[in-house]
Amino acid sequence: MLETVAQAVINGLLIGGIYALVSIGVTLIFGVVKIVNFAQGEFVMIGMYLSFYLATQFGIDPIVSLVVTMPVLFVVGVLIQHFLIRRVLGPNDMPQIFLTFALSLLLLNLALMLFTANYRTVHTSYSDEAFHLGGLYIPVAKLIAFAVAMMLSAALWVFLHTTDLGKAMRAASQNRDVATLMGINPNRVFCVALGIALALAGAAGSLLMPFYSAYPFVGQVFVLMAFVAVVLGTLGNVMGALIASLMMGVAESLGIQYVGADSGLLVVFAMLLLTLAFKPNGLGGGRAR
């Protein structure tokens, strides 16, 4: 009995790490640029396809291909901010919401056209292996993914709190107008934010490849969880998103175990609704937006 619970918790934490990578990107963009990136899942998908391509054409291990996917997606992020998002930043929500939404639709369907709906899988030597500790098992690929996800999150935290650019981002996130007055170029900061967020999405994609299959709709599966985590962890709060993601992963896993195999998502939604009912700003508290 205890073993089952422990295993469920481990499973939840491991997948939660992936949710974290995706949701941190979303919350970062929201905190700094103040828009919701509905297309975040599609960038994970792009990361996956990129890793798939590198693995099948050049034999590069997906985890190693991080060094390619992250910079590539960073650049993509900068370009998207500079050419697309910048044009719809303003007091009105509507264009922002539907721009990234349209982007999501576009990327998904482009992928469908270019790659077809077929699943693409990469088998590495450790893809289906697991560490066995007592009666517990920890899949190797997922453990690596979790570890890298935590390292990237830590790196981001360090960046935000020690470097000038990072502090500038946090300043812009807290109060854009004052930040501008203090000489921070908002567009530059936004570009970096988008770049980092998309790089994290790309990382998630690469880390997923050893144990998940790529297909055009794959982003949609993860993005819903990511959004819930962002709301749960308070909009714009990076640490909040991380913790919320891990919590959600565990809740989903326990929900499947003890409520019903089809109730994982329901449990997560219930968690979200309950939290919103009592803490409308999420667990991190803070001002109403």
Binding site: I15, I18, Y215, Q257, D262
Partner: protein, 423 residues
């Protein structure tokens, strides 16, 4: 052109053999016969009884509705290739003799894996063309809609879709292959073959396909002496199979029945390996029995069992079609695609006996279909005959197992083409 005329005249004169072999006559006799027939035809043509241009009889329209775009595109594209192959085979063998050698004209429509599109496309196909019959659509939900439209438009539809709802209250829907409830029984019986006291965990995706098959499992298990220790629907398209497999492990099952589409199956199979869980997996039908499954799962698929309503090693005819299909597409002929080749031949058989392209007459002919040889009889058991509810009274599924990157039929004994490997 002259050769064709000669051929068809001789055929009309003598045999009803669908294979199109000419009766063996001496050359002089043949020529005399030919001249007699030809003059008869010219005379008849002079009286306008038989239009001379009737030599090239009007083609008979067959509609085919498959999702070649959208989430089910992989399967849909394969189905279309098979549909084209079937029509070519029939046409090359001389078309429909009783209609003057009329060729089948395949009219395809993409239902885009979407219910509204299915509704409008089925309608468009029927009203825009004079269809004699329709086949499609692979997915249960889409087929249900198409069959409703066909029922109201009084056009017969023949389908391999396993939903039991298709046989309720309809007269224009024909299902030559196993029903969802029958798959369940086969799976249970196969479990007993591999282990003594099978304790089965059943997981199924919570859409039409999963629920109808799994209901059958629940009802029949006690009767088959199989204990179900876990019975859970799950949400298709999950991010991680670990919680589910964890639950399977906790249930103490030694066999796992998974009724799933492809992407979930891939994850489930791989996760079972990761966990090191020793369970015999029976992947049911659906995504399990298509070449893509092996492509994505690789060696892990070896030894896994499933059930299918059609398999390419069932008979020599099936193997022949499989070889041709493989030449064209590079993959083996999978369950649904092979089934629809047989269905096309069943339609051709009905057209032959009806002697008319009128859909209602074709429907009558289909309801009296009774074949046990030829491509129309490519079904497990080799026999097709429809009952009053459109079901094939001989219809039953065949148990399959992945062996050497190919799918081999292993159950029941009469249908087994390879031994069931115990893993």
């Amino acid at each position: 052109m002259t050769k064709d005329r000669q051929q068809s005249v001789l055929n009309n004169a003598g045999s009803n053999d669908a294979s199109g072999a000419t009766p063996i006559l001496s050359k002089r006799q043949s020529r005399r016969k030919f001249l007699l027939k030809a003059s008869g035809v010219v005379a008849a043509g002079a009286f306008g009884a038989v239009p001379l241009r009737g030599w090239a009889a009007d083609p008979v329209n067959i509609g085919a509705l498959y999702p070649t775009t959208g989430s089910m595109a992989q399967i849909g594209v394969g189905c279309v290739a098979a549909a084209k192959l079937a029509v070519e085979m029939i046409n090359e063998a001389g078309g429909i003799k009783s209609l003057g050698g009329a060729k089948l004209n395949l009219i395809l429509s993409d239902v885009q894996s979407d219910t509204t599109v299915t509704r409008t496309e089925t309608d468009r196909l029927i009203t825009g063309n004079k269809l004699s019959a329709v086949h499609g659509c692979f997915a249960s939900a889409l087929t249900l809609i198409a069959s409703e439209v066909c029922e109201r438009a009084k056009v017969p539809i023949i389908t391999g879709s396993s939903s039991d709802q298709l046989n309720k209250g309809r007269t224009y829907t024909f299902t030559p292959f196993a029903r969802a409830s029958q798959f369940a029984k086969a799976q249970l019986q196969m479990a007993k073959l591999v282990g003594d006291k099978p304790k089965v965990a059943v997981i199924f995706e919570n859409t039409a396909f999963g629920t109808s098959t799994s209901n059958g499992l629940k009802e029949l298990a006690p009767g088959e002496g199989v204990e179900i220790v876990m019975f859970e629907p799950y949400s298709a398209g999950f991010t991680d199979a670990s919680p589910l497999i964890n639950k399977v492990k906790a249930s103490g099952a030694n066999a796992l029945f998974s009724v799933s589409y492809l992407n979930d199956l891939i994850l489930i199979v791989r996760t079972v390996k990761q966990v090191g869980l020793d369970v015999a997996i029976n992947g049911g039908s659906g995504g399990f029995v298509i070449p893509d499954f092996y492509k994505n799962v690789g060696k892990l698929a070896e030894g896994l069992q499933g059930v299918a309503h059609w398999n390419h090693d069932m008979s020599d005819d099936a193997q022949k079609v499989n070889a041709e299909y493989k030449k064209r597409t590079g993959d083996f002929l999978f369950e649904y695609a092979g089934g629809l080749v047989a269905q096309t031949f069943m339609i051709a058989d009905a057209l032959e006996r009806a002697g008319s392209a009128d859909p209602q007459k074709v429907r009558e002919a289909l309801s009296t279909l009774d074949v046990s040889s030829g491509y129309a009889a490519m079904a497990p058991g080799g026999k097709v005959k429809f009952g009053p509810d459109g079901k094939n009274i001989y219809g039953h599924p065949v148990g399959v197992q992945w062996q050497n990157s190919d799918l081999a039929s292993v159950f029941p004994k009469e249908d087994a083409r390879a031994p069931l490997l115990k893993t």
